[in-house]
């Protein structure tokens, strides 16, 4: 941790004149990840038991989004060395030389503090504390510690991406509840198949950068089996919202069809005969898993906000 902060101080290039344009700073926030965070946090707000004024909900969502972006900036600051090696990330603002590591670090820290304080004022301090923990988890636990240490990096680190619905629920209720926890678990189980599918395709990239992703450490076959295991767990767990009465008929249909789609692609990955077939199925999983997550969360959003809930008997 100290070494990480020394890093920020040591890289004292003459940054008197910042070179980055607005677009470069925006890129530091990882806008695609940020959009997913906004969406999942919104679903957390909508399914939470309780009501909230739309202005406070919108302001809170903005704070959560900025907090997520801040952790992205801190991640890019810390990972600039490996980002420069990997083809997927070499054009990011720091490795491309458009923004200095110091600028990214300052930007990330200022936005982190600002977003947490803003959420505390807008909503409550439970939600703000959760946001602070999420930023810490992504920037320190995942980026600085786990990512370069263990092939379980994205499994444990995936929790950071799964927290937003819990923050959303806390914005409404002021506490951590079951609805947020169930949504957290869905994203948590979704993360390994999603990222390992990409890691299988980009294995050489990760190897060159020295990041111990599962395909590089445990091998292709073990990764395929684990993708299948997590996909089975995800497809089954996705029915829990129905059992709790949180999801209705529309959600059930989407979760069932989406789960079958995920399982079908996971099976294709498991049975891929050669490298080309494996890469093709891996990219299919990467793309479809995004669609799957979007669909199941959209179903919950539609049921709770558009009055489309056709409730089924609760089992829990």
């Amino acid at each position: 941790m100290t070494a990480a902060f020394d890093k920020a101080i040591d890289e004292d290039a003459p940054a008197i004149v910042a070179g980055g344009d607005i677009g470069d700073y925006f890129q530091l926030l990882k806008p695609r990840v940020m959009s997913l965070v906004i969406f999942t946090a919104l679903v957390g707000i909508v399914v939470a038991p309780g009501a909230i004024h739309p202005v406070i909900a919108a302001a809170s969502l903005l704070a959560i989004a900025i907090g997520a972006g801040a952790s992205g900036a801190l991640n890019m600051w810390y990972d600039a060395d490996i980002d420069a090696i990997m083809t997927r990330t070499a054009k990011r603002p720091i490795p491309a030389g458009r923004i200095t590591p110091q600028e990214a670090f300052s930007f990330g820290m200022v936005l982190s503090a600002g977003s947490v304080l803003a959420l505390g004022v807008f909503a409550n301090w439970v939600a703000a504390g959760l946001l602070a923990f999420t930023i810490f988890f992504y920037a320190v636990v995942y980026s600085m510690w786990l990512k370069r240490l263990t092939p379980q990096n994205i499994v444990i680190g995936g929790a950071a991406g799964a927290f937003p619905p819990m923050i959303g629920e806390a914005v409404v209720t002021g506490q951590i509840g079951w609805a947020g926890f169930v949504l957290f678990t869905i994203i948590f189980l979704w993360t390994p198949p999603h990222f390992w599918a990409l890691a299988m395709v980009k294995a050489e990239d990760y190897k060159r950068a020295g990041v111990p992703m599962m395909p590089n450490v445990a091998g292709d076959l073990s990764t395929r089996r684990q993708i299948m295991a997590y996909t089975v767990a995800l497809a089954l767990f996705a029915f829990v919202p129905v059992a709790m009465g949180m999801g209705g008929l529309a959600y059930l249909a989407v979760a069932a069809l989406g789960g079958l789609g995920m399982l079908g692609i996971a099976w294709r990955i498991l049975k891929a005969g050669d490298e080309a077939a494996s890469a093709k199925a891996g990219m299919q999983m990467f793309g479809f898993s995004i669609l799957y997550l979007f669909a199941v969360f959209s179903a919950l959003l539609a049921e709770h906000s558009l009055g489309l809930m056709w409730a089924l008997p609760r089992l829990v």
């Binding site: 004149v17 070179g19 344009d21 607005i22 004024h53 302001a59 903005l62 004022v121 807008f122």
Partner: protein, 47 residues
Amino acid sequence: MSDNFPTPPTLTPEEERIRRRRSMAIALALVVLAVIFYAVSMVKTIR
């Protein structure tokens, strides 16, 4: 005393343009932030 200070860097027109855009963006963000804080305060007061 003034000898101890480094000479301020000379900016190219492109750097000037980028700096101006960045300053405008920061100013805009501050205005938006003030509006949001105002709106949230009003909502909380009225409720």
